[in-house]
Every structure is written in C-alpha cells, then in structure tokens.
C-alpha cells in the first residue's frame, strides 16, 4: 500500500471528483473553499506527495460530488493550474486544467481597506496580469493581490 500511486486512488472512485496537482501548501485552502469538512460522502485527502511536475503536490478525491463553474473559478484563484478530473462509473469522464481567466469578477475581495470595492455594494473586478504566477490586480485601486492572503467572497 505504501507505493500506491495517485492513479490507483482515482480508479477506486466510482463517481465524483479528483482534484490533482494542488500545491501542497494550498490543499487545506481547497478543503475549506469547497466546504469539505461539512459533507458526509467519502473524501481522501493527500498532501506532500511526490510528483514529476511539481516538487510536492496534494490531491483530493471526493465521492459523489461535482464542482460548479463558480467553484472552479474560485479554485483557479487560490491555486492556479490544478487539474480537475470528473469521474463517472470508474472512468475519467472529463479532465481539465483549471486556468485563470483574463479577469475575475466578484470572486475575491480586495485586500486594500481603502479600496472603493470594500465600501460600496459593488462587484470586485481583478485583471489577471500574469497567469502563470497568478498575479491579480484590482481594477479600481490598482493594488496587486497578496497571494498568501486571498479572501474569497
């Protein structure tokens, strides 16, 4: 069992979602973003696994749960380039890398307390300046988002 590969863990899932290539330090952010501590279907959470692509990665396997567009958008913000596998009947029905869009609307809060978006009933808008490194800039106050402290709405 010690050498069991993530692929085998995927195969064990009948229906659900496998979120792969999560940076190890973001695994529990993903858990809290998806509210996984409140659901009662089986969940497998792996962290600090070795990976070819990344130094160390995390993987989350959730039974009988599929992600919404909105959840994918939020995931792209906290952990750019993670891979989402949708499993149906033990097979990978859909596999996609969740990438940052060009702009992000209403998903995150601006961290600048003096930003207008924190004082008016309005939608936040962030321009994605650098997709690879996940650099986001508030379109209103022009401040960059500090990645270690992203606040999801």
């Amino acid at each position: 069992m010690e050498n069991q590969k993530p692929a085998l863990m995927v195969a064990a899932l009948e229906n659900g979602t496998v979120i792969d290539h999560i940076p190890s330090d973001k695994v529990f952010d993903v858990v809290s973003l998806l509210g996984l501590s409140h659901i009662d279907t089986p969940i497998t959470i792996g962290a600090n696994l070795t990976s070819h692509k990344m130094q160390s990665k995390g993987i989350i396997k959730i039974s009988d749960r599929f992600l919404t567009e909105d959840e994918c958008r939020k995931l792209s913000v906290i952990a750019p380039n993670i891979v989402m596998n949708t499993i149906r009947d033990y097979k990978v029905a859909d596999k996609k890398t969740i990438q940052l869009p060009d702009e992000i609307r209403g998903t995150i809060r601006c961290q600048n307390p003096k930003c207008i978006t924190n004082h008016e009933p309005m939608e936040t808008v962030f321009d994605v300046i650098d997709k690879k490194n996940g650099v986001l800039r508030c379109r209103y106050c022009n401040k960059d988002v500090n990645k270690s402290d992203i606040k999801i709405i």
Partner: protein, 344 residues
Amino acid sequence: MRKGFTLFFFLFFTDKVIHNLLNLLHIIRNFEDSKHYSVMDKTGRSLISLEGLDRNDIIRLLDQAAQFEARPDRKTLDGKIVATLFFEPSTRTRLSFETAVNRLGGRVIGFSDAATTSSTKGETLKDTIMMVSNYADLIIMRHYLEGAAKYASEISPVPIINAGDGANQHPSQTMLDLYSMRKTQGRLDDLNICLVGDLKYGRTVHSMLTAMRFFNPTFHFISPDELRMPEEYKEYCRKNGIRFEEHSVLDHDTIAQADILYMTRVQKERFTDLMEYERVKDAFILKNSMLEGTKDNLRIMHPLPRVNEISQDVDSNPKAYFFQQAKNGLYVREALICNALNLL
C-alpha cells in the same frame, strides 16, 4: 476641352474623397479620444488616470492648455453646470477647478467636505453620483477611497474628472507638472529630473514616472531610506528604459546637473521610526545657498502645500517655480474640462 473636363471631374472627385477621408479620420480620432480616457467608462469622456494616454495625447492636451493660458477667459461653458464633489477637503485643487469653470463661463454646484453631505448619513457613492448627475453636465470629484472615481465613471451618465482618489491617481496634478516642465524648459524630452522627499507614498511622483516614459528622462530619486521609491516603480523604470539613480542625501553635485528639482513633503506620520524622522527631517530641506552653481534653466517645483522642505529664502530666487506651477493648473484644468465635455 475633354481633357480639361476630366481633370476637373477628377479634382472634384478627389476633393470629395479627401473630404470623406478627413471625416472618417475625424470619427476615428474622436473614437480614439474617448477610448483613451477609460475603457469601462460609461460616457467615454471621463478622465480617471493618465495611464491610457500616449505621447501624442499628452502633447495635444498640453498644447490645448497653452491656448487657455494665452486666453483663459472664454464663454465655452456658457449654460453648463459643473459639480465639484469633494468627499475629502482639498482647498487648492477645488479652488483651481472651480476657477477654471468660472473662467470658462460655467456655473459650479457641489460640496467641499463630506461632513456636509449625506454620505456621512450612510448614502452610497452611487446614490450621490446618480443624484448629482441629474443636475450637472460634468462631475469633478475627490474622494479618500481608491478607485472611487473609476467606479463613478462606470455608473454616471455624465463624465467624471478624477481630482484625486486616495493614494491612487490625481491626473490633473500630473498634467500641470508636465505643463510646467515643458513651459520652463521649452521641451519635455531628455530632461534631468530630481525627485526629492517622500518617494514611497508620493502619488504625484509615481504618476510623473509613468507619464514621462515617452520623453526619455533621467531621474534622480533622493529620499530618506524609509521613504525610498518602491521596488515596483523602479521595476517599471527598468522595463520602460527610464534611467534613474538613487541617493540618500540631497547633495550639491546631484542638484547641479538637474533641469527640474521636484520637492515633496516629508511627513512625520509616514515614519514608523520617529527617531529616524528626527534624524533625517532637516536633510531634505532645500535652502537658497544650495542653489549656487546650479544650471540657469533649473526650476524648483513642489505640488504644494509645502511645510518646511523649501526654506522661505528660496522664494525670491528666480529658479523657484512652485507658485507659477500651481497657476498653470488653472490652464491645464480648463483644457481637461473642455475635453471631458467635448467642447474643443
């Protein structure tokens, strides 16, 4: 005879074509004009920041301002009402804008302090803007929150001019700085500019860097260590090929090469270490004696209000330019107002 007729016809034809082409160019230019002001802007004529302007846009605005300097009193705004909404008091900026409107023959409504408005009763900015846009043809606003003017421009049916939004943007100040530099130096290209004082929080010095990227400047950043130019702006300079040197003392050798000496306030409240403030506060004060041996064309600028960073004995030096600089703000603002209302 026939040849002559053909030639005539050809001339007539080309004339019409040229006329149409000119019309088309005019339409494209107008479209580009509005595009440059702000992308999300509802009216297409708001001025929120200078970011979208290119070299030609800047020069065109400065040329227009020069025409207002030649003849500041006009009736261009006859019958127009301009609102000045100052959610944060700024007497100098407000007086300058209101004078510009008055010189153009327009009327002013508004408030000079949020304490006198309903925003203190919890009214949203949106509601205030929508209410005022019922009355005014143009809104000039200053706000303590960053991004307030941009948001207003997205919802307002009348154009917005940003007169300062927190630490973010203050485009009319930057334009008057550029105007003053060009006027005193006869050009904007290839200037040697010393920026002195608070380069960390100074909004005006940051906007100047971005607006000057088209004009091949050499900057000297002179500041206490705690208030150095932030890394993101130095990175901006490197990316845009803007030369700069950093200095931690205001020394004569650096001033001696300068065309423009741009002083800013070193405010006590900006320091985390008050001992550090006490140590450096006098090191960034310009005294008249320091101006000996500087270039004849050197001019000393300051966004005002000054506290003590330029000693009073500098005022009578012909190189002192900060009061004229403020006056230039009037002409620049006349040009910005007429642009926003598409009256040029």
